[in-house]
């Protein structure tokens, strides 16, 4: 009995953990949707043979059909091609935003939580200030200051997420700092930076991963909102938010709004589902 229970808890290596997991079908579907989005952004030419910029004026405002899956827009451009080609900047910019949020927020939270004292007080006030300004308004202000394009919109979105990551990181670090293994590492003569790097960071970052995935979905939404208001790249770029914004002037041909909107929703929903699955399996 003892032997059985010992051998039933193998060391969790990367592959061992993956094969041991029972992945629910919804999560597999979510991964497929995300994989498709990544495929669209890496090699859009593989998924459509239409040109996203130059259309055929004779074929304008056609409804969805076998030839044009999402219909065509007011200039006769294939909307599916526009969505596919717009994925790269919609998805990559969300990635930039998350990286900024995780790195900047992570460092702030790590230092505040680990050193405590006046460092913590200073950072805590900074985070309070960032939280007091509505996230979207903050993003709008930052993008106004640095200029309207999609990369800047991504930077602005990242800045507005710093406070969230700083908070979570700080509370995780404080939790970890009190653990016995950290105390013993201190007693064994480990330096502060060694403990910070070797023990606190890996443990604290566990709950940051699902949050980062969740933030990825949220960033897609915020960047789409900024693009919708016209703070991203101007046309003929085809960011999802921009496509919806153009479509709103043609509500008589509703697929111009619904098709890019459904793609956005499906992507964000999948990302959120993956985040929840990561949280549950942790």
């Amino acid at each position: 009995m003892t032997l059985a229970s010992v051998s039933s808890t193998p060391r969790a290596t990367g592959i061992g953990r993956l094969t041991g997991l029972r992945v629910p079908p919804v999560v597999i579907l979510s991964f497929l949707v995300v994989a498709l989005a990544i495929g669209w952004s890496l090699a859009p030419g593989l998924f459509t043979h239409y040109d996203p910029v130059n259309g055929t004026p004779a074929q304008k405002l056609l409804g969805p059909s076998a030839a044009h899956w999402f219909g065509t827009d007011h200039l006769g451009r294939d909307l599916y091609a526009r969505v596919v080609y717009g994925t790269a900047s919609s998805v990559a910019s969300a990635l930039i935003a998350v990286v900024i949020g995780v790195v900047a927020g992570g460092i702030v939270g790590l230092l505040a939580g680990f050193f405590g004292g006046w460092v913590d007080t200073v950072f805590a006030r900074l985070v309070d200030v960032l939280l007091a300004i509505p996230k979207f308004l903050l993003a709008v202000i930052v993008v106004t200051a640095i200029g309207f394009d999609t990369t800047n919109a991504a930077i602005a979105t990242g800045v507005s997420a710093v406070a969230l990551f700083a908070r979570v990181m700080r509370s995780e670090v404080i939790k970890t700092r009190q653990a016995t293994f950290v105390e013993s590492s201190f007693l064994l003569g480990g330096s502060r930076w060694h403990i910070l790097w070797r023990h606190v960071l890996p443990n604290a970052s566990r709950s940051v991963l699902p949050l980062a995935v969740l933030q990825f979905g949220d960033s897609i939404l915020v960047i789409a909102s900024l693009a919708f208001l016209g703070y991203g790249d101007p046309p003929p770029a085809s960011d999802w938010g921009l496509l919806i914004s153009i479509g709103k002037d043609y509500l008589k041909w509703p697929w111009l709004v619904y098709a890019p909107a459904l793609v956005t929703i499906a992507t964000v929903l999948s990302v959120n589902r993956i985040s929840r699955w990561l949280r549950e399996t942790d």
Binding site: A132, I133, R167
Partner: protein, 336 residues
């Protein structure tokens, strides 16, 4: 009222004032140190048609030729005494510009909050009564669906369905009752998701407690158990969550106003962004920060009075159940 409560209240009040003042300085610094300055972008832009004399006048009136710390000091002392300065574009007092559009945004935001609370209550309390296998999963799925839909899409769908197809409201009259209601729905749906998530988590937590098991053992039906035991302890912590969504309510109305063509704070921000009217932007952001901080201060101060389980220890607040140090419902879900 104990001494501990007064210590706590004093500490929170002081903290709130510090955060408001710092957020003003922060916004000012962000707007002025980042590349892009209004003189070259707006005043010298031939499209705006300012004459060289006008440009000189505006620069002098706004003090744009002075070093940034001096500008900050004069703007900051103005802010503390309630003077928000002049708009760069229209040369009218910023306070007047804001006062003109504020009522419209307040109506939209409060209606949006009402919609959010209503939806969240239906979703969360509904999970208590639907059978576990059938229906409950559907209700529990709503928050994550709502969180994945951009609110301008909800707005456009509502305009398309109810404005154009069914003709419930006319799009060219954005301030009519029905148009306002649909704008409030578009604004409220994403926010309801956050409230519902916390509410559901609290309900699950409370119904797993010993006292709930005892009550069930005494033969209480689900309805009685919910009303007499679960409702209050699971709903009270939501006060703090609602206070935290104020920021999103303001940020969301910015987009919703654009979609529905309402003239409110959001459209003022839009106009000021396109003309780089920094004094107006600065004022709107500071106002939003003030509203957020004050609402959260009120929530934090009334909460210990409403929930007797909260113990105040040496000016520190100890909250029950899930509302510990995580601030947003999302982070709450993660750190729990």
């Amino acid at each position: 009222m104990s001494k501990a409560y007064f210590d706590y209240a004093a500490k929170r009040l002081l903290q709130a004032i510090v955060v408001i003042l710092l957020s003003y300085v922060f916004t000012f610094v962000v707007v002025s140190i980042l590349p892009g300055d209004p003189i070259t972008n707006v005043l010298n832009n031939p499209q705006n048609g300012f004459t060289p004399n006008e440009i000189k006048e505006i620069i002098a009136a706004q003090g744009l030729d002075k070093p940034i710390p001096v500008q900050l000091w004069s703007a900051f002392s103005g802010f503390v005494t309630g003077d928000l300065g002049l708009s760069m574009r229209t040369n009218r007092p910023v306070a007047t510009l804001i006062a003109e559009v504020l009522p419209s945004t307040l109506v939209l935001a409060s209606a949006g909050l009402a919609v959010a609370l209503f939806l969240a209550a239906i979703i969360a309390y509904g999970t208590q009564f639907l059978p576990r296998r059938f229906g409950q999963g559907l209700l529990r799925g709503f928050p994550s669906l709502f969180l994945s839909v951009p609110n301008f899409v909800i707005g456009l769908v509502l305009i398309h369905l109810f404005g154009f197809q069914l003709g419930v409201f006319r799009v060219i009259e954005p301030d009519s009752f029905w148009a306002t209601l649909f704008a409030a729905i578009a604004l409220g749906i994403p926010i309801s998701a956050q409230i519902a998530e916390v509410l559901i988590a609290n309900l699950d937590h409370e119904s797993g407690q010993d006292y709930a098991a005892v009550a069930r053992g005494r033969g209480l039906g689900q309805m009685r158990l919910f009303v007499t035991h679960l409702l209050k302890p699971s709903s009270l912590p939501v006060i703090t969550v609602v206070a935290l969504t104020i920021g999103e309510l303001l940020g969301g109305s910015l987009i919703t106003e654009t979609v529905f063509g309402r003239n409110g704070l959001g459209s003022l921000v839009q106009r000021s962004v396109s003309t780089q009217d920094l004094p107006v932007l600065q004022a709107v952001v500071s106002l939003a920060a003030v509203v957020f901080v004050v609402v959260n201060l009120i929530a934090d101060l009334t909460y210990p009075l409403l929930d007797p389980r909260v113990k105040l220890l040496g000016g520190q607040e100890r909250r029950p159940t899930t509302a510990d140090d995580s601030s947003l419902p999302i982070s709450k879900a993660v750190t729990r």
